[in-house]
C-alpha cells in the first residue's frame, strides 16, 4: 500500500507494515466473576516507508501510536499482521535474529532524562550499543566513534565523561540521538522526542533530526501528539485515533485540505501565537468531549461520538481506510462531500 503515486513508483520500501493489530487483555472483577476484557490498542494499521522518508504519526494519548512503534520494534506481540523489514517479517523472528535487526532499527524515546542511565557517562551511554554488538572493537576506536557522534549531534566531544544530570534536557535528547545513530541504522523511530522539551529547544532537536536524516539518508518514523511539530519534519503524515488510521496523506495535502474531520479537529486545536488570530479561531474549535473508553470502542466509526459531521451510517458501519483519487488515504464515509480546506 503506497500513498506516494509518482515519485516512489520505482522505489522499494524499507518497511512494509500490513494489517498490524495489537490487543491487550486483562481480567477484571472479583474472584468469582472474573471477566476478560480486551483493549484494542492497534487495529489493522498498514503503511509503507521508503528510504530517506519521514512518516509522521499523530494522535492523542491513547490513540495507539506508541504501541504501534513497540509492535514494529517487536517489543509487543501483535495479534495479527506483518512487519516486513527489507522483505523479512519481523513478527516471525526469534529473539537472536531480532536482536541483530536492532542494529538497523533504532529508537529515541520521549523523556531524555528518564531514558538515560544516570550512573553512566554520556560517552558510555552513546558507546553501549557498539560494545554490545561489537565486543571485540578496540577501546580507542570506540572512543573515536563516540566523539564523532557527539560532534555530529552538536555536543562537545570534551563532555564525553560527564553524567546525564550535568546536561540540559535538550542536550540529553542529543545524547539519545547520538546513541541511536552509533550503529549506522537505516530507520530511527522517534517516539515523542520533543514533547518534554522547552519550545526553543524543540526547534533545535527537530532541525537536528531533519539535517541528520538528509546527511545520512535515514528513514524516520516521528511520533507526536502535536501536528505543528510533525509538519516540519514529515513527508507523509498518518493520523491515528483509538488504534486506527484515520488518514494517511502527503504532508502538504493533509495540512491544506484534511480529508478526515478528526484531522481537521487536530489542526484546529494547535494554538496560534497571535492574539487576534487566536481569538478569531476560538469560535471555530469544536472538538468536544473525551475519547471513549478503549475497552468499549463505539460501534461504526470510532470517531462518531465526537464528530460534528456524523450521520446515521457513521453509527453503524466501520469506514474502511480507502484510497482517494489523488492517492491519499482516508477512513471516513463522507470524505467526498466534506470540504475541510484550511483557509490561509
Amino acid at each position: 500500500m503506497s500513498a506516494q503515486p509518482q515519485s516512489s513508483a520505482e522505489r522499494v520500501p524499507v518497511l512494509k507494515v500490513q494489517d498490524l493489530t495489537v490487543h491487550f487483555s486483562d481480567h477484571v472483577g472479583h474472584v468469582f466473576h472474573r471477566t476478560e476484557r480486551t483493549l484494542r490498542a492497534v487495529e489493522g494499521i498498514s503503511f509503507d516507508l521508503y528510504p530517506g522518508e519521514t512518516l509522521g504519526i499523530v494522535g492523542e494519548s491513547g490513540s495507539g501510536k506508541s504501541t504501534l512503534a513497540r509492535a514494529i520494534l517487536a517489543l509487543v506481540r501483535p495479534k495479527r499482521g506483518r512487519v516486513l523489514w527489507l522483505g523479512e517479517d519481523l513478527t516471525q523472528l526469534d529473539e537472536e535474529s531480532m536482536r541483530q535487526k536492532r542494529k538497523d532499527i533504532q529508537v529515541v524515546f520521549q523523556d531524555p532524562t528518564a531514558s538515560l542511565d544516570p550512573r553512566m557517562t554520556a560517552g558510555d551511554i552513546i558507546a553501549e550499543p557498539l560494545r554490545t554488538f561489537f565486543p571485540h572493537m578496540a577501546p580507542l576506536q570506540i572512543e573515536e566513534r563516540t566523539r564523532g557522534m557527539m560532534k555530529m549531534v552538536g555536543l562537545l566531544p570534551n563532555q564525553i565523561n560527564r553524567y546525564p544530570h550535568e546536561f540540559s534536557g535538550g542536550q540529553c535528547q542529543r545524547i539519545s540521538i547520538a546513541r541511536s545513530l552509533v550503529l549506522n541504522p537505516k530507520l530511527i523511530i522517534c517516539d515523542e522526542p520533543v514533547s518534554a522539551l522547552d519550545v526553543s529547544i524543540q526547534a533545535q532537536i527537530v532541525n537536528l533530526l531533519r539535517s541528520l536524516q538528509k546527511k545520512l539518508g535515514l528513514s524516520l518514523i516521528f511520533i507526536a501528539h502535536d501536528l505543528a511539530v510533525v509538519r516540519h519534519i514529515s513527508d507523509r503524515v498518518m493520523v491515528m485515533y483509538m488504534g486506527r488510521s484515520m488518514e494517511l496523506a502527503e504532508r502538504d495535502a493533509i495540512y491544506r485540505k484534511p480529508l478526515h474531520p478528526y484531522t481537521n479537529a487536530l489542526i484546529k486545536s494547535v494554538p496560534i501565537p497571535d492574539p487576534d488570530l487566536a481569538r478569531a479561531a476560538r469560535r471555530e474549535n469544536w472538538l468536544t468531549g473525551d475519547m471513549p473508553s478503549p475497552y468499549h470502542p463505539p460501534p461504526g466509526c470510532v470517531f462518531h461520538t465526537r464528530c460534528p459531521y456524523a450521520v446515521n451510517r457513521c453509527h453503524a458501519d466501520i469506514p474502511a481506510l480507502r484510497r482517494m483519487e489523488h492517492g491519499d488515504w482516508v477512513a471516513c464515509h463522507r470524505a467526498e462531500e466534506l470540504d475541510l480546506s484550511v483557509r490561509e
Binding site: 492523542e60 529547544i201 505543528a228 501565537p273 497571535d274
Partner: protein, 335 residues
C-alpha cells in the same frame, strides 16, 4: 502594567516588589528569581512565560508561601492590603483556597487517589465557606458542570483514576474555583495534556475570565498557548524579567531578542513558511553559574561588548519594559 480600560478598581489586586527567591543546594546558594517587580490589576489575566529554570514557577510558589524546604524568598507581595510574605502559615492557609487558588501542572499528583472527587471538593467548601454538607455538595456539582463534566451528579462519586487526563485537569480547575477566589494562579495548566484537551482548557479559562471578575496568573513555557487569553505578558529568562507588556505588544512588537526568538521557534500551522524551524541556539544557563552581564548574551544574535554589563530594565509607556540595551522602538519592528 497592561492597559485594561474596563477595570473599575484602579488599585492593583497584587503588587510584587523586588522578589528574590533562592535555594540552598549542595552546589551553594542558587538564585532562582533575582529581583522581580510586577502588578496585576483586578480582572486582568497575566501570563508569565519562560523556559524551565527561568524562575516562573518559583515566583508563584514564593507568593503562595509554598517554596520547597531549602528555598527562601525576600521582597513583598501585597494582596488585599497585606503582605503575603509576612503572613504566618495559618494566615496563609486562610488566604490560599479562599482568596487565592493555585492549579498545578500534573492533575494526577494534585488529586488524592484514595478519595472520591466529592469528598475532596466538599471538604474544601465546608471548611472555607462554612456551608453545610448538602449545600457544599450542590455547589461542587455546579462547579463541575461549569467546567463541562458530563453527568456531574454521577461523576462526582468517582475516584480520580476514573477520569481522563483532560477531565482531571478540569476537575482541578473546578476545585480552584470552588471558593470563588479573587486570584487564580495556574502553573502550566495545559502542559501535560493533548492539544485537543489543551484547547478545551484554554477556552474554559477564556470563558471564565469573561464571566467572572477573577484575576488570573497563568504560567507557561509556550507563548502560543496564552495568545488567546492573556491581557499582558511577562517573559522571564534565567530568573529575571526580560520583557513585559500587553499581549498585543509582546506578540506583535517583541522587543527583547529572547522574546523574538521564542516567537520564531513556535511551530505554526497557519503560515506556510520555510520548513526549518528557527531555533534559539544554545541552552538556558545553569542556575548555579549564571553568566555575568546580560544573561541571554551567549545565545543572542545581537550580543555586543556592552552586553558584558548588566543591562537595565528599560521601561516605556503602556507598561512596556525590556531588559536589553537595544532601544525600544515601537514602530520599527514588524511582526
Amino acid at each position: 502594567m497592561g492597559e485594561r480600560q474596563s477595570s473599575p478598581i484602579p488599585n492593583p489586586i497584587l503588587e510584587v516588589r523586588d522578589l528574590h527567591v533562592s535555594f540552598d543546594t549542595p552546589d551553594g546558594e542558587v538564585e532562582a528569581v533575582s529581583g522581580l517587580d510586577f502588578e496585576l490589576r483586578h480582572g486582568e489575566t497575566l501570563a508569565i512565560v519562560g523556559e524551565s529554570g527561568s524562575g516562573k514557577s518559583q515566583t508563584a510558589l514564593a507568593i503562595m508561601g509554598l517554596l520547597a524546604q531549602n528555598g527562601s524568598a525576600k521582597g513583598s507581595a501585597i494582596f488585599g492590603g497585606q503582605d503575603l510574605m509576612q503572613l504566618s502559615q495559618d494566615e496563609l492557609n486562610e488566604v490560599r483556597g479562599r482568596e487565592i487558588s493555585m492549579i498545578f501542572q500534573d492533575p494526577m499528583t494534585s488529586l488524592n487517589p484514595y478519595l472520591t472527587i466529592e469528598k475532596q471538593m466538599v471538604e474544601v467548601v465546608m471548611h472555607h465557606q462554612r456551608l453545610r454538607k448538602e449545600e457544599a455538595r450542590a455547589h461542587a456539582v455546579e462547579m463541575l458542570r461549569a467546567v463541562r463534566i458530563a453527568d456531574p451528579e454521577e461523576r462526582i462519586r468517582d475516584y480520580p483514576h476514573q477520569y481522563s487526563g483532560g477531565m482531571r485537569q478540569r476537575v482541578l480547575i473546578a476545585m480552584g474555583l470552588l471558593c470563588e477566589p479573587q486570584l487564580l494562579i495556574a502553573d502550566e495548566p495545559t502542559t501535560a495534556l493533548d492539544v485537543t484537551v489543551q484547547a478545551q482548557i484554554t477556552h474554559l479559562i477564556a470563558e471564565l475570565r469573561e464571566k467572572t471578575s477573577m484575576s488570573i496568573i497563568i504560567i507557561t513555557h509556550d507563548l502560543a498557548v496564552v495568545a488567546d487569553i492573556a491581557d499582558c505578558i511577562i517573559v522571564m529568562y534565567a530568573g529575571q524579567m526580560v520583557e513585559c507588556g500587553s499581549a498585543r505588544d509582546v506578540f506583535y512588537h517583541p522587543q527583547h531578542p529572547y522574546t523574538q526568538g521564542l516567537l520564531k521557534s513556535v511551530p505554526r500551522l497557519d503560515r506556510v513558511d520555510d520548513d526549518a524551524l528557527q531555533a534559539i541556539p544554545g541552552n538556558p544557563p545553569n542556575p548555579v553559574s549564571v553568566p555575568k552581564g546580560c544573561r541571554f548574551r551567549d545565545r543572542c544574535a545581537y550580543a555586543m561588548d556592552v552586553c558584558r554589563d548588566e543591562p537595565p530594565l528599560r521601561t516605556a509607556e503602556g507598561g512596556r519594559a525590556s531588559r536589553c540595551v537595544l532601544e525600544i522602538d515601537r514602530e520599527d519592528n514588524p511582526p
